[in-house]
Amino acid sequence: MKKKSGFSKTLAAIVLLVIGIFVGKTFFTNQNSEATIPMPSTMKYRNIGISNDTTQVTQKERFNGKVIEVKNGASIQEAVKEANPGDLIRVFPGTYSENVYIDKDNISLQGVVIKGKWPTLDGKKKINDAFLYSGNGILIENFKIINYKGNGIMGQAGNNFIIRNNWIIDTGVYGIFPQYGKNGLIEHNVLSVIADAAIYVGMCDNVDVVHNEVFDSVAGIEIENSRHCLVENNYAHNNTGGILAFVTPGLPIKTTFDVILRNNFVVNNNHENFGAPGSTVAGIPPGTGILIMAADDVIVENNIITGNDNAGITIVDLTNGDPKANDLNSEPNPDRVVILDNIMYNNGNNPTGELKALMLTQMDTKGPDIFAYGGGTGSTIRDKNKYRSFGIDNYGPALITDTKDITTFMLPEPVAPRSVSKHELGELTYYGICAGCHAFNSRLIGVPTNIIQAIHNNNPQGIVDYISNPKNLREDYPEMPPQNYLSDEAKMAVAEYILALKE
């Protein structure tokens, strides 16, 4: 009995040991490396057809790029320099105090968060921007970004961007700021303590801003001079203004329209305004839930808008909302605003300034749920009597009940880069650059083009080699500078173009 017990104990011990090794191995394996590297999201695209309630993406292209790893102590910018379009840069936990600029297409930057430790970009209040990109198809995800002077993430004319899962605190003027971009996704970011807008979609088209938390900032989410934007499932709280859709005058793109603000929590946006003097947001009264200024065709649907001390929804024209700047080309009125079902209560507990004075004329000391002031036509509202309101007497009944058929404003396909034919590329290069020194049959600065044709007859590679590394062959002409800035593709295209040129 005792012996048997000893045997079974030994057996149990062996079994436990094996299990222990197995568990330990699994545990350590998981700790030290990941089984698979997640697909970089630039290679994927949201598929509208999948279903109505998912953000699932389908694969657009195969990933065949290189994976570049950046560990603590190394530089993210060095990795960007090394990267080619299609590559994935994975950044491991650590502190990176740098300005990362990405002037290339299709680069993915992916933070790797390990046991709650984030790869952190720290601007130390000295560096201007954490990420600046101008390329198309840029992905930035899983980064913690703190203490910059300008922006957390700023894009300039990059299309097809994805910015998600970032944790951004006190990065100066804006947290996430794509500008002049078409087709983008900003989702699952958490941003706070931003002196202008935490998320600012500026002069863009087709952008979804979904599932973000924005707080302790002057403006939570701002859709400005942008078209076709969906702002959904966000939590905007304790900002000066929660969610804004407006037109800023004096910018090259003049309109904001086709914006849906849906299923957001817009709660207690009563933060003191700490915007920079002169900025548009510096004029936003604390206690502003949603602000629609001069924007057209904005739909406000199914939001929970509570505890905003000035007004739940404010709808104004430019003359009343932002009288500082003037621009004859900016249409100043908010037209065709549609307010559908929303939950609104406990707004307007402490109205300020102009609104306070206006409410006093109505024998009311509280601000309303909905406040409309100034010009604008064609606006409608569903179930008007549900809310305490000011200035919406001329709002008719809404012609729609919901927007459920619109699941996204992103495009079903990425914006394609313009592809030019080899002939076109050769032509643009020849006339755009070479023609400064070469004319067809007369001498400008360099040799006439018809002489180049005679020298390199049927040999475009000869021209490519020469322009990459010119040798001064003729004493009567100055030496040509190397044209290395042209891509190999452009060099061959122009060489072939030159050889085919007739006059």
Partner: protein, 397 residues
Amino acid sequence: MNKKRYFIQCFALVVFASVLTFIMAGKKATPEYEEVFLLTKTCPPGFRLNDKNECVSQNLYKIYTTENDHGVGGLRTALPKPRDGFSPQQIDLGRYLFFDPALSGNGTISCATCHIPSKGFSDGLATSIGMAGQKLDRGAPSLWNVAYMKLFFWDGRASTLEEQLEGPLFASNEMDNTPENLIKTMNSFDEYLQMFAEAFPNRDKKDHIKLEEIYTALTAFEASLVSLNSKYDQYAHGYQSALNKKEIEGLNVFRSFVARCAECHTPPLFSNQQIAIIGTPEPNGLPLDTGAEIPFKDSTLRGGFKVPSLRNIEKTAPYMHSGNFATLRETVQFYTDGRGHAVPKGEQLRIHWHIWEPNLSDYELDRLVDFLKTLTDESFLPKIPDTVPSGLTTAIQ
């Protein structure tokens, strides 16, 4: 000594002009001789001739597209639609007119007097000098890339090049001409009569030169002044080594939302073509220039000026509408010295919201200047004519 040489030159020119006139007069009488064309049949660099005898603008920015309004922001975006499609002859005729003092009332000032090619098509002066040494109120704007512009003059009061050029031509303190006198002068030169007939072949050869034809030719030439092949452009098109480390640092300061330069000086044109009120100081003793307030009859635009392009900015010192800043370094310093710091007391200007206090360091300001110098490209500088059809001296180096 100089006077003597001047006389000899003038004499030579007169002789040359008379000989030319004689030859041409002779040619008219004997049409069986082959016609000698005075104007070129080829487009200037940057343009391709199509089968309608039009010069179509060509550059690497045509590779790119933005689906919304063209020409704003980012490295690889399309330019706005240019004025192009002029014939080689019209452009060449415009070149002669541009350098010809015969366009002014008394034959002393040409367009090139204030728009000097080697000075970025400006004149190096704080404010330009007009007719009979009169000091003008504003500096001469550069003409590079005007084909892409939609607003002209510092105060943005003209919206086409044709409308713009009427300004200096007929202003009494500038070229001091009148439309009647200009027509009369132009029609008095046989060489111009032939040139205009070549440039405008769809009318009768013997027709008189019309005002609109002068405008078209000048516009054609101005629209041919293209500068899009700078070091910056090479970088933008993807050649990462085109800029050195300091220049890239400068680019990053330029486009950051701290300095915010690129918000109004949007690439690739380096102007967003808007009116902006930034509150720069006037040179000593001069009153505030109220800028766009006057033409737009709008007090909210008081002190507003068109955002100028920064291409070839290195060449066009001194800077701002009245040339208050001698160097680029002084100019960039202005933007970090505080919002409205130079606005005269008692003035309530609606300073642009991008003018703030970015607290740029000296190092950053130096890098900004490094970057601005990468926007220089004069590879398509046009040839100054050795002589002009009027025979007057061009005096442009």
